[in-house]
Every structure is written in structure tokens, then in C-alpha cells.
Subunit: 321 residues, 4 copies
């Protein structure tokens, strides 16, 4: 791993992910009634969803499609000038530019580009802040919307994890195009990177790339929202159980990043995680990326839970083994 | 205070309370949507409500009335023989018998009697267990109904607090008629009892009598349901805030009994408390009642919060000062 | 399973367990510094330990020995008369009486008897209440000792799990000798009982017998203390990790009994569990024991965790396979 | 309030505060045994303390003095160049430069300056990372030191609150000298600012100035460390109670910033707060500062608790009224 990369802060934060589902109604029911997101709008083939503490119009765009997986990942930049700097950096790079798009219900024009494994990203400055209607306005004027305690009570979008055939290559992509810094990574004995965790701000991560072990390309490993507390995640496990949601693994604590996790599959098969909002912040400007070797990984998760096999194989869309 | 009273265990547990409301629709909306109770049935002027962990058909009977306050308090006995013993004890006492009633949606015939301050109690053996319909059946076969995490997520009925003009007299009533034991009490400097906490089982209390300081008679101070955790009660405070429910005091911890509390008024004005289910159990068969003097009480609640004035005056139905 | 057994309430509660250790100093360090127990006294080959909410002198007697496992299990009865009734019942039974012993630091004379698998039990009425010295006296007069938050912050003794070659036989023993009731059980496809959970009071269980699958006799499966919250157990996992304590499995939630658990091995190898104090109470006097079949058990723990192999083999003292 | 200020990110984070105490031994005992800080070194008249998740050598310098209050506030910058930029900005401003100092046990040379009310600040780049000795090394390689769960289990330094005679003036100071942005503020009816909350990064605040209502100058209102959870803060209240620590107010939730709080006075009288680490992040680059009017403030804290009078008068060092 190279010397630590100081983030440019040109990119402010993960804004939204677009998730494809081939069971739109069931997925929408899951995300709103069980997962606890609120629906800002439903338009065409998409529903625009957000958690109660997300300030933008949407943090998830759920789109009816013939397959599952990820549509695109949107990051908001820190200023119009930062957007210009980023676009210049991307266009000067070896990575694939897709050019400007007009924007969407939740934001203005956006610049699109692609990682080497087929995942589409976009950067935008102009956003649509969520304006709560009366029924969703919080009693506290510093909240974007009402705290309802609905379902598993997700609070804000947290991160997205993508599968890539060459994690080192993805690391270069994230550093060059997003100005991300690496906070932790897995170093395999074969010299390859097994996974890398990135952040553009003080959150400990907002983006992860782990190695694609199947024949997939451009696949999603999972998308994660944060809950307030670990206790929320324990309750979420009961709510999943009672609603017939498939729990893949957890609740438990990750050794890497130390976040408390629960993985489940939404009705269409996309993996969704819950993690706790109180996780570590990376405040050190010269944070040294933490290296996890295969020997470290053999100890399992923080408290010894072994990683289950599907975690290495299941992604969306599914592929034949 | 006399020597500790070993509970007879003839009375098994608090079964239900009947609450009167002069704003039936609003109260029902509060108790189901916000407070988190489930509605087993609505019939005539009453709704039969229960929390997800209550095994009987109902633990609250909410009844449309021209006033607020308490209708009656129902306790389930430990066996048919225990019921006979209790009835004999009540009939042999100086307290007022009201005789047998036919029962209700949630239980069989019941024996009614009255405390010296006009509160009606009943004892019953035959009960109607809640039989969850498919949509409310838990994935766990040892649960009475589905865990939903709905609203403030109340788990089970906990206790009821009644106002009485003479707390010593109420203590005799509870010991003689219910076979309750005293677990804690307030000894006023004037020689009177300020409040007494009673239990018929290993819960640390299920019944409280505190001194009526107004001109009321037969009034309710509050009814309480337990939540799983203190964190649930913190979230409840936010949910109350967002739903415009009047928070009277809390969240904080009682010095007496050590329970974590939050007091609010439901739309008709009846005071409802939340307390945490993980409170102390009284396992000692010879538990010595804990005496709190006025000097002790001057320290406030466990962490110093002062008792607010309405706590000493507000009861239902309200009375002119 | 026969008709539900109504508990006699002659036996009040689990009082203490005696644990043997062949690494006394290490075990004592674990139980006091990590597990959070307080030492009332150390005398001869034993240390007398208790949690902050245990009202008796000790709830664990830790004894230096040449082997690990359980010394005896002590239950406190509800009254002197209850003790007489119990002794008469035991002596009239087919189970083995060991007669009276003089008592111990923490209680008066006790009547000893043995289950068919070599575990020694005792019943006693006269107890020694813990009298906190000034430095351990709580600011709250209703607490037995000071809340310190020390280590994993155990609150009270919860239950003990013994291995028995014939669980049906143990069920008869517990019903006859202790007046226990069965709250849940595992029914194996071969017609045998796989495990039974018992309670003498409103706690959902205080004693468990699971089937001995090895060549052991009189072995301990585990002893459990309760913490206030599930969050305490999550923190405990970190404290175990940091102190090099072997975590066997968890934290997770049991399907049976619904308790949140964490299993670890203390330095001498005795399995110790943490469970949350806020678990379900069994208030129904006619609780119907819940039956879990092998088909049920195949679903794993509440949220799907599979039972690990050592859970079926490891007991203390260890035996050759 | 002017247009929102985009933070420069030149200043990375609050690094440490120096606290004066005229009861050094008692304060040190409080901060280490009760408040849960670890002592990196004791040297001369100072102890260097940090929480388990603070990556630097110290986040609190506790110094023996003839008075209480604040010594200085240290912020770490994002790079050597950022330090140059900041120094240039300060020297070009109307605020008072104190010049370079050699550094301290925990960091290299630092540039000092003073706010208009006598509080000393310093900026530094070169820091001393905490290198855990074996006994304090975490089992998790991404943690700066061992998680012990000691005392109230503080996790990291959170913020400092200073009293200033003119909050508007302090706002200019913080924006110019630290590059802070305002996240929330109190607008008094008299046109003055009652309090302003600042942040240099994604934390919702790290610095607060509230109006000095006494005759003090350069006084400290409080210093705050974050705990993992709100439950930690509830336990902290019990630990304070048992240790005779004066609880001033709380636990409760602030309307402003939404943090859960508990205020106490350490033995020398300095006010110390606990707040939960899971508080809101300010990810929006164009966050609009939230304005709280006197009318808003009349509603009390988030759940209605009224602000206690000492909160407006007590600061350190104390002043005659």
C-alpha cells in the first residue's frame, strides 16, 4: 500500500445509490415497511427513498429492472469548483468518462464515469434538499424529517460495497476519481488486495471494493444504511425474522472497521446491511491504512464468527458458478 | 411498617386494567399507533388491547366514557382453589365485596371487590389466551404474538398506580385481599405513609398507592407498560415529541424501585408511564420493605431530578383544586 | 411431556453454585476483574463471590480443586416450613438423600441430595445477607451493594446448566425434589428429551438439563449470570477479546427462551454464559411448556446462527471422547 | 447570521484541552477511575490523559494550578501547508497572536493565539501518536488502545464550550482563525447571539461559545468526551451517583444538536459533560446553520427538561456574582 492519501475533500459525501430490482413491489415494501426508509416520490419505474436523517431528496433510487444489482453510485461534491476539479482529474485519467447527464428528481446535472469493472458513478453539486411536508416535519428544527421509529429505523445511508475483479485497480480508480483515501484493506498472501475500504470524509468508510470471485462483472456486494445504535440492529434481526426476511449472517462485529453488522437479502436478492451510526470517525489527517493479512482474517470477525461461504459468492446480479 | 409479608402466591399476576376515556378515538389511536399496543377486538364501547408479550387476550380494556380514570383492575389467580381462598379472605375482611360478575371478552367469571377509596378490583382464574391470527403469529413458537417494533414498542403490562386518601388503609387492603407484599414505601414525617409499592410475585411491583392530595376519590395516578430496554424509552421520548404527546417528566431513573421512567398524558389526560422490563426482581422470600423518608426524597430521583408539581396533583378524572 | 406443573413456590430461587477450578488464581482473577463479581470473602480453598444485585453473601463459591466442574447447586427455600415439606418430599422419593450439612459462610444448615447423574443439590432457609462495608454501600438504599460498572458488569446469578445422561429422569428429579416447573424443552426424534428448562419462580428458567453425549457423569455445561442489557453483553464480548478470554459462540439470541447469550470459557475451562436480565418472565400460572422439535432446531438460533460442535461435547470436567 | 461558511478543512480536529485544577489528586482520580481516561504520562504539574479511541498521546492535559478553568485548547491541522495558511490568516486578522511555542509531550511546535475573551488556542501539525505498551495494546489492530470498559467508558474527546462576553465576536474569531463553520446558534431577542456551535470537520460540533452572564473572563463552561452509546451515559449517571460526583443536570437530550447529555462537576468544580458518539454528522457541504430563538428555547430541552439556573452562572474559575 502506498503512503496514506490525504483526502481532497473535493467530494463531500456519498449521496445515493440506484438499486435494480426484478421484484419491484416486494422490494419497495421491504425498503419502506421493514427497512424503514421513507418514500419521497415514485415516478416512472423508480421510487426515491431516504432515511429520516438524510438531508437530500433521496439516498436510494429503487428501479424496476429485468435484473438486480446496482444502477449507479452518486457522490455529492463540496462546491461547484470542486466539481470542475474532479471532472478535470477524471478526464485526465485512464478511467472511462461517460460525460454529463441532466440530473434526476433529487439533484441537478451530474458527471458520470465508470470504474474498470462496469460500475457507474456520478458526481453532482446541485442537489434537491428534502422539504418535509407538514406530516413529516420534525418537532426539532435541526432534523430533515420526522423521527418515526418505523421498522428497523435506519438513520442514513452509510456505504456501498462493490465487487471488482482487481481491487488494486479499483483503489487507483477511487483515489484518482473520487479523491478517496484508504482507511483499511486486506492483503492476500498471493500479493493481491482482497478488499479496500475508502472514505472521502471523516466517516470511517463510504465505499468498499472486495474481490469478485465468480464470473460476475459490475456486481453489487451490498448497500448499507446506518442505525442509531447496536440495539437497533438487534431489534432489526427480530423484525427481519418476523417478516420472513432472509438473514445471511450477524448480528456481529466486524474486525475490520469495528462496525456492528447484520446482513440480509431484500426480496429481489440484493444484499443489504445495517451498521451502527456510532462507528469510529477518522479524524487523523494522516491516518495510516490498517492492513489485515490472511492470518489476521483467520481469526474470524471481531468476536470469532466465521465468514459464511455465501459472503464470498453471492452478489447481484447472480452469476452461474 | 409491620414485618415483611410473604406473598401467598394465590394471586399470580396483574392481568389488565380498564381505562376510561372521553376521547375514545384519539386515545385508541395513541395506544395502538404510538404506545405500541395491539388490538385484539373492539366491541361495544371498548377496545381490548395487549402488548406483544402479554399472553392473555387483553391487558388493557379501553372504554368510552364520560370521564377519564380507571374502570377496574383485574388480577389473575394461580388456580381455582386459590380463587376460593381469596374470595373467602375478602368476604371475611372489612373490605367491600361486590360479588361475582360473568366475565368479559378476555376472561371468565370474576369476583369483584372495592378498596376504601372507590377503586374496583377483580380476581379471575379462567382466562382467554390470545390466539394470534396468522398475520400476528410469531416466527418464534414461545412468543404470544409477533414482535413488530411498532411505535414505542411496549412489551407487557407492568403496574398500576392508584391515588388513595389513606395509604395505610390501602396497604391493609392489598395485603388482605390480594395477598400482596410491600416491597418499598415512603414514610412521611407526619407519620402517614406517602406511598406503598406492592407485588404479588417476583416482579418488584405491580401495584402502587400514593396519597391523594386533592379532593379526588377513586382516581388513577397512572398505568405503566414495560419496554425491553431503557433505550426503547429514550426512543419513545422522541416518538412522543414527534407525535405531539405531552411529556410530563423523564426519561430518568426512580430512586424508589430503580426503574427507568417516562411519564406522558394520553390524549384524554390519563397518565401513562413507560418503564424498563429489566428492572430488579424480588427473589428473596423475606425481602425487607425499603423505607424512604422525606429526607431521602429531598434528594430527588436517582440522578437528582426534582419531582414536578403536577405529579402530586394530576390524576384522572381531574378534580377542581 | 406431562401436563404443566404449577410450581409449589416452596423453593424461592437459585442461591449459589460451587465451581471447581484447577487454576484457582486465574479463575478468581477472571471472575472478579473481567466477569465483574465481587469477593465477599476468601477462606480456605474457596472464594465467595456475588454480583452487585445478589442479596446473599455469595452466589458463587469458587473452590480450588484437582478438577473443574460443579461442586454443588444451592437453592433457597421460601420458609422454614417449606424446607420441611421439601425434605419430606425428597426423602419419600426414589432420589438419593445426602442428609443435612452444617452450612457455609453464606448460609445456615442445608439439606443435600443428588440427582441420578451425580450432581449435588442443597436446600437451605437460613441465609447470610450481604452487609456491604462502607466502601461498597450503594447510594441507593434499595441496592445490596454499589453499582460499579466493573468488567462485564454482571448483575445477578441467573441459571445453571447440567449435563445428564437421561433428561427425562432429570425432569422427574427437578419436579419432585425442587418443585420446579418445565418452561421449555427439546423433544428429539428418537423419543428422548434433548434438554429441559426449569423454573421455581417467575424467572423463565434457573436450571437446565441437556443431554450428556460423551462419557461424562455429573458434568457442568455452564453457569450463567445476567447483565442489565444486551448492550452490556456486546461490550462484554470486547472485554473478553481484549483480555484473551476464549469466546465459544455469540453474542446471539437463543430461539429457546429468547435470551441473548455469550458463551466463553473461564481460564480453567468451565463454560460461563452471560444472558440479559430483561428476559421474559413466566407470569402465567398455567404456562404450557414449549416444545422444540429437531425440525425446529435445524433453523439454528433465533437469527439463524448454527450451534457449534463444542456446545455438544465440551463440559467440565472434560472427558476423553 | 451570514451565509453558511464552508469549512476550509485546513484544521483537522480538536486535539486536546488543558484543564486547570486546584485539587489535582482528586481530579486525576476522577478522570482516570471514574471518567474512564487513561494516563499516558504524568510529568511536572501535569497528567496527560486520553480516551481509548483517541489516537494522539493525550486529549486532556490536567494541570495543577491555583485556580480551575481552561489552560488552552489545541487543534491539529491537516498538513504543514495548512498550518502555514492558518498562521498567515491569524496574523493578518485583528485577533491576538501569541507566537510559536516549542510543543509539549504530546505534539511538536505549536502556534498560539487568543480569542477576545482570554482563551488561548494553539494549532500544531506534528503530533505524537499514542504507542500502546503491551498491556494496553488492543486485540484489534485498528484501535489505538485496549477497550477496557473502565468507569464511564469515555471513547474520545468531543468538544469544549467556552464562555464569551460577545458571542458574535467569538464567531468571527472561530471562522477567521480556525476556519470553523457554524452549525447551530441561538439568536436572542435583544439581537445578540446567545450561543454558537462550530465545527471544523464532519462532526456536528467541536467548539461552542455561550454568553458569559457573570463577571468572568476567559472562563470554561465545560469540556465533553463522547461515549459509544446513550446507555453508557445512563450507566455513567449511576457510577457518578455511587462515587459521590455532583450531577448538575441530565441525562436528557439537547434540542440543539440532538446530543444526549449528562453534566457533572469534577472534584475541583470544572464542568464535564458526556455526550454520545453516535450523534449526527454534518455531511452537507452547504449546511445551513440552524437558528434557535428564545421562543424555541422556552420549550426546554428536546423532551422538555428545563435548563437549570446554574447552567447560566457556573463556569470555571468561579466568579463572585
Amino acid at each position: 500500500m502506498n503512503a496514506p492519501t490525504n483526502p481532497s475533500f473535493d467530494v463531500a459525501h456519498l449521496g445515493h445509490v440506484e438499486i435494480f430490482t426484478d421484484r419491484f413491489e416486494e422490494s419497495l415494501d421491504f425498503f419502506t415497511r421493514v427497512y424503514g426508509l421513507k418514500c419521497s416520490a415514485q415516478e416512472g419505474d423508480s421510487a426515491y427513498l431516504r432515511a429520516w436523517d438524510d438531508y437530500e431528496f433521496h439516498s436510494m433510487k429503487l428501479t424496476r429492472a429485468e435484473r438486480t444489482g446496482i444502477g449507479h453510485v452518486g457522490y455529492r461534491v463540496a462546491s461547484p469548483e470542486a466539481l470542475e476539479r474532479r471532472v478535470a482529474a477524471i478526464e485526465a485519467s485512464r478511467f472511462k468518462s461517460l460525460g454529463w447527464v441532466d440530473g434526476d428528481r433529487g439533484h441537478g446535472r451530474a458527471y458520470r464515469f465508470e470504474d474498470p469493472f462496469g460500475h457507474v458513478f456520478e458526481l453532482y453539486w446541485e442537489t434537491v434538499r428534502y422539504e418535509a411536508p407538514e406530516a413529516d416535519r420534525s418537532a426539532l428544527k435541526n432534523l430533515a424529517s420526522r423521527f418515526t421509529g418505523n421498522g428497523v429505523n435506519t438513520r442514513r445511508i452509510d456505504h456501498v460495497n462493490l465487487l471488482g475483479e482487481d481491487v488494486s485497480e479499483f483503489r487507483d480508480f477511487a483515489e484518482v476519481c473520487l479523491g478517496s483515501r484508504v482507511t483499511e484493506y486486506i492483503q492476500l498472501d498471493n500479493g493481491r488486495l482482497g478488499g479496500v475500504w475508502f472514505s472521502v470524509n471523516n466517516k470511517t468508510y463510504d465505499l468498499v471494493c472486495t474481490e469478485e470471485r465468480g464470473k460476475g462483472h459490475g456486481r453489487l456486494h451490498h448497500v448499507t444504511y446506518a442505525t442509531d445504535t447496536r440495539e437497533d440492529i438487534l431489534k432489526a434481526a427480530d423484525i427481519y425474522l418476523e417478516n420472513g426476511v432472509f438473514i445471511e449472517t450477524g448480528p456481529h462485529k466486524h474486525a475490520i472497521q469495528g462496525s456492528f453488522f447484520l446482513y440480509a437479502w431484500e426480496p429481489a436478492g440484493n444484499r443489504v446491511e445495517l451498521a451502527n451510526a456510532g462507528a469510529r470517525l477518522i479524524l487523523a489527517p494522516d491516518w495510516e491504512p490498517v492492513c489485515w493479512t490472511e492470518a489476521d482474517r483467520k481469526k474470524g470477525q471481531a468476536w470469532g464468527l466465521k465468514t459464511i461461504p455465501t459472503f464470498h459468492t453471492h452478489g447481484t446480479p447472480p452469476v452461474e458458478e
